[in-house]
């Protein structure tokens, strides 16, 4: 993270969103909204006085509600850049029109309540889409696990935050309900994954391994603790992965093959009822804490990204690669590449490998000053074009625009509209050529004349 932040060739644009993508490979024009931080990044020193003095406390999104943050905040201590942002939905200055504490205490005079969103348009030659994943909203469908109403039924990501030394519990594993250390922790795998009835049909790939890690952390951090893992299958195909899982089992994690059918409270405990399919009988575990390994789903807003850069998606919203085996990081839009979990669930090693592959494709594109385009693009015969513009909405690549030409007709200068094809955007699909009533559009290499000659050859 620090390496990316300090690299002289990398410019960070955080708290920013892409609004529009125009242009084509080698020549994209991207409109970006830089959201108002309400803090002048050029003045802020990241000293932290503002968030210490801020009187408003809200749940921290970064800690998934396990901890609190202020209305002016850094998501976490090592955040990059170390410039806070004001959450205008909760800040008293914005909700009630008075407070101004952070502005008063800021020694650098960096707080700017009037800052506006800034819209910029920049040119790029290539785009890497790395929009990642979020967790499946299990609370909405898994009634048998309590619809999220039991505070001690948490997700693997909550568990990660608790284990983090800089997290809300300072690295201690606790029960969110009463802060006590759990002695018996139950892990439930495939919550939303491999469950077509309630969730997704796919395997999220990383959960078997992080659950093994979580079970290991319980046994390591809590003396005398027990870790139970309910699983459908243990899938550990990766270098040193199965060894890691075996190690967790040898440390004492108890793996139970079967689905959990119900979780319900009984006194201070949570009773986890499930089936052990290897023994063929029902089991019940009285747990202090239950951790669900929830499915990875595409990050919210994937529809907007797909629309802007013209990406195909699969049934679950993951972006489609150009070929599942041979072109795994390219897309159907030239110059746009995929990296990480936005293409499908994957773990860190696979994500890093794919990101480097996408980078190699970008470097390959940038290694030349000019790129050659396929010459089989549409061509307009301006003398035939009537300027009806029928072709314009038909083009799926937005490659056709109307232009005005001036010509001499019977001794007079006359202006009229004709179609013009941008050969950089045109992918040679031919849709416009069939739509053109005047036969003014032809696909080079597949002209009407050439195609008719083929038809004649077989029919006459």
């Amino acid at each position: 993270m620090v390496a990316a932040a300090q690299h002289p060739q990398i410019k960070l644009m955080t708290y920013a969103e892409v609004e529009n993508v125009a242009g084509y490979v080698g020549n994209f024009e991207v409109t970006i909204r830089k959201k108002a931080r309400s803090v002048d990044a050029s003045k802020c020193t990241g000293c932290g006085t503002c968030w210490e003095k801020c009187p408003t406390k809200v749940d921290s999104e970064f800690d998934l509600g396990l901890g609190k943050r202020k209305a002016i905040y850094l998501p976490f201590p090592q955040a990059v850049p170390a410039v806070p942002v004001i959450d205008r939905e909760h800040c008293r200055q914005f909700t009630r029109g008075k407070c101004g504490v952070c502005q008063k205490v800021c020694p650098a005079g960096a707080i700017d309540y009037n800052q506006q969103d800034e819209i910029v348009t920049e040119k790029f030659g290539a785009i890497v889409v790395a929009t990642g994943y979020e967790l499946f909203k299990w609370e909405e469908v898994y009634g048998e696990y309590g619809y999220g109403k039991y505070p001690d039924v948490i997700t693997g990501m909550h568990f990660e935050r608790m284990n983090s030394a800089s997290g809300p519990t300072g690295g201690k594993i606790i029960r969110p309900s009463d802060g006590k250390e759990p002695k018996t922790v139950v892990f439930v795998k495939c919550v939303g994954s491999r469950d077509e009835a309630k969730g997704k049909s796919y395997c999220s790939r990383a959960c078997c391994m992080y659950t093994a890690k979580h079970a290991h952390q319980v046994l390591e951090k809590i003396p005398g603790s027990k870790a139970f893992v309910f699983y459908m299958d243990v899938r550990t195909p990766g270098k040193a992965y199965d060894e890691f899982y075996e190690r967790t089992v040898h440390e004492g994690a108890i793996y139970v093959r079967g689905r959990v059918s119900k979780i319900f409270p009984e006194g201070e405990k949570l009773i986890v009822r499930g089936e052990d399919t290897l023994l063929g009988r029902q089991v019940e575990v009285a747990a202090d804490l239950v951790v669900l390994a929830t499915a990875m789903v595409p990050s919210r807003g994937w529809e907007k990204v797909a629309r802007m850069v013209n990406l195909a998606t699969d049934k679950d919203g993951f972006f489609q690669e150009a070929h599942p085996k041979l072109r795994p990081v390219e897309t159907f839009t030239a110059g746009v590449y995929l990296a990480g979990a936005c293409q499908g669930p994957k773990d860190i090693p696979d994500t890093v490998a794919q990101a480097s592959a996408a980078a190699a494709k970008v470097c390959n594109l940038f290694s030349r000053d000019e790129m050659t385009t396929d010459p089989m693009t549409a061509q307009v015969d301006e003398s035939l074009c009537s300027g009806c513009a029928m072709c314009q909405p038909i083009c799926p690549y937005k490659a056709i625009e109307m232009k005005t030409i001036t010509e001499r007709v019977a001794g007079k200068q006359v202006s009229r509209q004709v179609a013009a094809v941008n050969s950089g955007l045109c992918q040679g699909c031919g849709a416009c050529t069939v739509a053109c009533r005047a036969s003014a559009l032809n696909l080079k290499g597949f002209t009407n004349e050439q195609i008719l000659a083929e038809v004649d050859a077989v029919c006459l």
């Binding site: 993270m1 990316a4 932040a5 690299h7 990398i10 410019k11 960070l12 955080t14 708290y15 920013a16 969103e17 892409v18 020549n27 994209f28 959201k35 850094l74 976490f76 990059v80 040119k123 790029f124 030659g125 290539a126 785009i127 890497v128 790395a130 929009t131 990642g132 990501m157 935050r161 983090s164 391994m209 093994a212 890690k213 952390q217 990766g238 992965y241 807003g301 990480g340 773990d347 860190i348 990101a355 480097s356 996408a358 980078a359 470097c363 594109l365 790129m371 050659t372 385009t373 010459p375 089989m376 950089g424 002209t447 004349e449 050439q450 000659a453 083929e454 004649d456 050859a457 077989v458």
Partner: protein
């Protein structure tokens, strides 16, 4: 004056077992404009491509038709072949007599052969009207945008930047790091993620 060469591929037995390739070549040789027609086991192989190059020179061919597999597979191969002896690659034409003929009519040799002849006749008719095309050059802005600054975005940004190109690493959140920085230790080595 169009001087067309026609090359019929056996694709081992893929095509030759269903199509009488010798007959297709013999029929093609009789058409107007076709000055050379032959068949060969694997047109895409080095000796196969050499056969095409030699024929172009010997018979002063200015149009080439290869009847073999799908153009998705070997159109780029043969375009390069003809280009290597000075012919514009877009003067080359391909007829698919494998996927669209031999494989779907494997049990009807007579019918498959007749259809292959038709397909080659179409390709020859088109080749006659093919004209030289040249690829356009467009400039490349050597600057990359990365949408999302999690582990994937950061890794891609570093690799591109280390090659000397400018990168903008964008994220909707106030910090970079994505989901990855929320993680404590990472498997299987249990090293920290930040």
């Amino acid at each position: 004056m169009k001087r067309i060469g026609v090359f019929i591929c056996h694709c081992g037995t893929n095509i030759a077992s269903a199509v009488d390739v010798k007959k297709v070549a013999a029929v093609a040789a009789t058409w107007a404009g076709v000055v050379f027609a032959t068949d060969y086991q694997y047109m895409c192989s080095d000796p196969g491509q050499e056969l095409i190059r030699k024929a172009i020179k010997e018979h002063r061919l200015n149009r080439v038709v290869v009847a073999s597999c799908t153009p998705r597979l070997h159109e780029p191969t043969f375009r390069k072949t003809v280009e290597s002896v000075g012919l514009n690659p877009y003067l080359f034409e391909m007829a698919n007599i494998r996927e669209q003929c031999a494989w779907v009519h494997a049990k009807d040799k007579e019918g498959a052969t007749a259809k292959a002849i038709d397909l080659v006749r179409m390709a020859v008719a088109k080749a006659e009207r093919n004209f030289a095309l040249s690829a356009a050059k467009i400039p490349v802005t050597k600057r990359a945008l990365i949408i999302g600054a999690g582990i994937a975005g950061m890794q891609a940004a570093l690799d591109i930047a280390d090659s000397g190109y400018e990168v903008v690493l964008l994220d909707r959140e106030p910090t970079i790091g994505g989901n990855m920085v929320k993680l404590d230790k990472t498997f299987p080595t249990l090293d920290c993620s930040a």
